[in-house]
């Protein structure tokens, strides 16, 4: 929505991630069918669609957890081919999960440190002999992890030694994002990052997602059901239904799209509820306003 984004004609720039006719079958079920999607640097793109439309499956395909039945996924001009999950991370993609998948018996800090795994160099022998550079590397890693946590405010930094299972749901979501950020991704995939949050918490989440883009210059691909999120922060929205992409466009276009209304939005879209107002209302803080001119 920023001027910059609107000016840049997307067709001329190279997309960061491109899906070409991606299809995934589970047995007889076509969970994803011929989906084309292009995401450009520093965009926030949302994927929405009814439950079971195949959104999460698209994420799983991108991140190498599933292999596409057909089609091609291209990242920075290079096909991802059969990259396994950790290779995908190495290429610069990181994700969160719909059902939070943290390492429950590890502390907040350790969770983030695991995310830094690829950035660290110490081999098993280095770990045993622990030469000075390894010590330094570890310290550096810790410092960075804390820095990442501080992205969500001092609050998480203070709780760095807490086992994640003791955190509130919202905090766990944050830790999961911090863990994803730790691998220094170029593209961040968030699967329903506000699920299970109440409206106040959701608002806050919207803020930091936007900050991720603005401050860390990340590109973000987002799955979300809450309209106050998708409509509020997306540059573009793609709509899936029964595995097919049925619409793509700016939030406002999507909101008015007949097919999307019948398949997904239901009366809510037309009812124009209060939540909408909330979502679209400009942010009170000055900082937030900056991104809204």
């Amino acid at each position: 929505m920023t001027a910059e984004h609107e000016q840049a004609p997307q067709s001329t720039r190279q997309p960061l991630l491109e899906l070409k006719k991606v299809t995934k079958h589970f047995g007889g079920l076509a969970a994803v069918q011929d989906v084309d999607l292009a995401i450009y640097p520093q965009e926030i793109v949302s994927i929405i669609g009814p439950n079971g439309a195949g959104k999460t499956t698209v994420f799983n395909l991108i991140t190498g957890i599933y292999l596409a039945t057909s089609g091609e996924i291209i990242f920075e001009g290079q096909p991802l081919k059969k990259a396994s999950p950790h290779q995908v991370v190495q290429r610069g993609l990181a994700r969160t999960f719909q059902n939070i998948r943290l390492f429950n018996n590890m502390t907040v800090l350790e969770n983030v440190l695991v995310g830094e795994h690829l950035r660290l160099k110490a081999s098993i022998l280095d770990a045993v002999f622990r030469p000075p550079w390894v010590k330094q590397e570890e310290e550096e890693a810790r410092r960075r992890a804390i820095e990442l946590l501080s992205f969500f405010g001092q609050h998480l930094v203070d709780r760095q030694d807490e086992y994640v299972i003791n955190l509130s749901y919202a905090d766990r979501r944050r830790v999961e994002i911090a863990r994803a950020l730790a691998s220094e991704p170029k593209l961040l995939l968030l699967d329903e990052p506000t699920a299970g949050m109440n409206e106040a918490e959701t608002m806050e989440a919207v803020h930091y997602i936007r900050r991720l883009r603005d401050e860390l210059h990340l590109t973000i691909l987002l799955i979300e059901h809450k309209l106050m999120v998708t409509m509020g922060i997306s540059d573009r929205i793609a709509v899936l239904d029964y595995g097919r992409k049925i619409a793509e466009g700016l939030p406002d276009e999507i909101r008015r799209d007949e097919r999307v209304i019948t398949a997904y939005l239901g009366k809510a879209a037309t009812a124009d509820r209060q939540t909408w107002q909330v979502a679209l209302r400009p942010q009170p803080e000055g900082e937030a306003n900056n991104h809204h001119e």
């Binding site: 589970f26 047995g27 991140t63 190498g64 957890i65 599933y66 292999l67 396994s84 999950p85 950790h86 991370v89 190495q90 990181a94 994700r95 999960f97 059902n99 939070i100 998948r101 943290l102 390492f103 429950n104 018996n105 590890m106 350790e110 440190l113 695991v114 995310g115 795994h117 690829l118 660290l120 110490a122 081999s123 098993i124 280095d126 770990a127 045993v128 622990r130 390894v134 570890e138 310290e139 890693a141 810790r142 609050h155 203070d158 709780r159 030694d161 807490e162 086992y163 299972i165 003791n166 863990r179 994803a180 730790a182 691998s183």
Partner: protein, 663 residues
């Protein structure tokens, strides 16, 4: 950095606190002194110096140990007085003192074996913990004083603290020396010391003066350590080390109650001073002194038979290494390995084939028997490497397997290896095994099958190395990857962890240590036989790890020692004990014999062991010393499982092809 403001108020209360600590320490020390004449050993060492005729290195070393022992205890007293803010109630203190010092000393004394006594204490501890948990469930411990009342220690407070520490150990040493003095004088003048000279009399008098002074000094030392743990130099002197990191009240308040308590325990030794980092250092020092001097003091403590006891400890040692290795695979990486014995076999046979005349039989190479034993050192590494290689070879086919499918493959591997070793008898001598395996050689050490001391020190060093490696691995990038993988493979992969590599590394590392244990075993026993390695051994190793506490390094060490002591030392000897009229079980044994004429403990040894396993698991399902992680896990048993959270879920129903790719 934080000590309650009400620390050591200048009242009668303070004196009572001081007394509490002094008496608490006096008890175990007195038990030790009186039960074992620890002081007599000291005197003997002194006499050994003054009377050249009776000069004996062992006596002097033993005396040195005793000095260290009492010194450390005195220092510890000072430390604890400084660290304690009076939060620990007298009863709590006494109960823990009783269970953690008096009980082990008495048990060791009764069983006349350090090891068995400690193992028995471990069992007692398990019950103690269980009982305490029960009690606390019904009568939750009184809440700690509110944390916000903690404040930063200032110079004045430091001074008070230090004085108290000094006073504490001074009183301790004084009361102690007075008791010694009285007893010694009594013995001296009643002639119990025979023709002990005047020098001796001078020594005991001198000692009575020196001790309180030493107490004063050591107390200051302990106090300083305590304060250093409590207060960094400038109030926020952080060096990245958590123990020294500053902690803010705010932060403590933010933490959940349990976590805050853990935090406070590490950082502020006044919460549970007996378990603070500082106290732990003292214990470690004590343990180290004990381990190093042990062969010298053993004859003084338990009388003749040192060699065979050391031999036992040497055997226990390789179990510790095995358990530590298995812990990497099962505890850290979460890969259930039921065939761990295979790597042990590989390690053992590597040295057995190279370090015995079998090499000559097979290859015709004749190696000078003077040089041969030296080969042990490089072969120790080679054996470990070969085992690690096999670890990778075994790991490779199992990569796509999960949970119990993995377990069965490892089990199979554990079965195959001994069979192969047995059937390739052209090379390995089959069931009859290889004998005449060389002992290692080391400068000036007399080393053969009938000596135990060198093996004792060798295993100490090996354990130290393996322990260090384990600790470092655990706290490294690799260790984190293992644990992450255990927790959630998919999330781990999505965090950039190469599952293939990480799993193979776990197998290799585990096997590596097992290989070391194997080579040591072969050299120590001088014999290996293929029939001696079976599934049951793998199971025993697993029991050691689980019983001790999965993933917990100290737990695993204790587990290995406990299982070894119970299963290998105590149970097989019950019959001998039962037949010995001086043993405690003699009356029981004779009684049973009257009812069941053919009764023999050896026939129900597994029954007893089995029952112990079941009972211990029921009492401490998370292990004797659970890792902080696992301890945690247990308290969150009703974790909010979402969908299929466990990767080990059995694919029972007809369904779908495997989709998650793990190459």
């Amino acid at each position: 950095m934080l000590v309650p403001s009400q620390i050591l108020p200048q009242t009668g209360e303070t004196r009572r606190l001081l007394l509490k600590w002094v008496i608490a320490f006096l008890v175990p020390v007195l038990v030790f002194t009186l039960v074992w004449s620890g002081e007599a050993i000291l005197n003997a060492a002194l006499l050994a110096i003054f009377f050249p005729g009776s000069f004996s290195i062992a006596a002097i070393a033993a005396g040195l140990f005793m000095l260290l022992f009492y010194g450390i205890i005195t220092g510890l007293t000072g430390y604890l007085v400084a660290a304690d803010s009076g939060r620990q109630s007298l009863l709590d203190l006494w109960i823990s003192m009783f269970f953690f010092t008096v009980v082990p000393i008495l048990l060791i004394y009764i069983t006349a074996n350090l090891f068995v006594g400690l193992a028995a204490s471990v069992v007692v501890w398990a019950f103690y913990y269980y009982g305490r948990r029960l009690v606390r469930r019904f009568r939750p411990p009184a809440p700690l004083p509110p944390l916000p009342s903690l404040k930063v220690l200032d110079a004045e407070m430091r001074a008070t603290l230090l004085t108290r520490a000094r006073l504490g150990s001074f009183w301790f040493a004084l009361s102690f020396s007075l008791i010694w003095l009285l007893v010694d004088l009594l013995f001296y003048f009643t002639g119990q010391y025979g023709q002990a000279s005047l020098v001796f009399l001078v020594w005991i008098l001198l000692r009575s003066v020196l001790l309180p002074v030493a107490g004063w000094l050591l107390g200051s030392l302990g106090g300083l350590v305590a304060i250093r743990h409590a207060v960094p130099a400038n109030g926020n002197g952080s060096n990245g080390d958590r123990a020294g990191a500053p902690v803010s009240t705010r932060r403590l308040r933010l933490l959940s109650a349990t976590r805050a308590r853990e935090e406070a325990r590490d950082l502020v030794p006044n919460d549970l001073p007996l378990r603070s980092t500082g106290a732990r250092n003292f214990y470690l020092l004590l343990l180290l002194a004990l381990l190093v001097f042990y062969p010298m003091i053993d004859p003084f403590l338990f009388g003749p038979g040192t060699d065979s006891r050391l031999d036992n400890y040497g055997n226990a040692g390789y179990y510790v290494i095995l358990a530590l290795g298995l812990n990497i695979v099962v505890g850290f990486a979460g890969l259930l390995d039921l065939g761990y014995v295979a790597f042990f076999v590989i390690g053992a046979y590597t040295w057995a084939m190279v370090g015995s005349p079998q090499l000559t039989v097979l290859t015709g190479i004749h190696i000078n028997p003077d040089i041969w034993p030296w080969l042990f050192w490089p072969m120790l590494i080679v054996a470990a490497l070969i085992a690690a290689l096999w670890g990778v070879l075994l790991g490779a086919p199992t990569l796509r397997l999960r949970g119990d499918y993995l377990a069965i493959v490892t089990l199979g591997f554990g079965e195959i290896i001994p069979i192969v070793v047995q059937n390739l008898d052209k090379y390995t001598n089959g069931t009859n095994g290889l004998t005449g395996i060389y002992s290692p050689a080391f400068f000036g050490v007399h080393w053969n099958v009938s000596t135990s001391e060198p093996y004792y020190y060798l295993i100490l060093v090996l354990i130290a190395i393996v322990l260090l490696a384990n600790l470092r691995l655990r706290d490294s990038r690799i260790g984190r990857a293992w644990i992450a993988m255990r927790e959630d493979e998919i999330a781990a992969a999505a965090s950039g962890i190469n599952l293939t590599r990480t799993k193979l590394l776990a197998f290799a590392a585990g096997a590596f240590f097992s290989g070391i244990a194997g080579a040591y075993y072969a050299a120590k026993l001088s014999t290996v036989t293929s029939g001696n390695f079976s599934f049951s051994d793998s199971v025993i190793y697993l029991a050691m790890v689980v019983l001790g506490g999965l993933g917990s390094i100290p737990g695993v060490v204790v587990g290995a020692l406990a299982v070894y002591a119970v299963n290998v030392l105590v149970l097989p000897q019950l019959d001998a004990l039962g037949n010995d009229p001086s043993s405690i079980i003699y009356p029981i044994y004779t009684h049973i014999l009257q009812v069941i004429p053919n009764f023999s403990f050896s026939n129900i040894r597994n029954l007893i062991f089995g029952i112990i396993l079941v009972v211990l698991m029921i009492f401490r399902p998370e292990g004797l010393i659970p890792s902080t992680r696992r301890r945690h896990e247990l308290h969150h048993t009703e974790a909010e499982g979402v969908e299929i959270t466990s990767l080990d879920t059995p694919p029972g129903a007809p369904g779908f092809e495997s989709e998650m790719r793990v190459e």
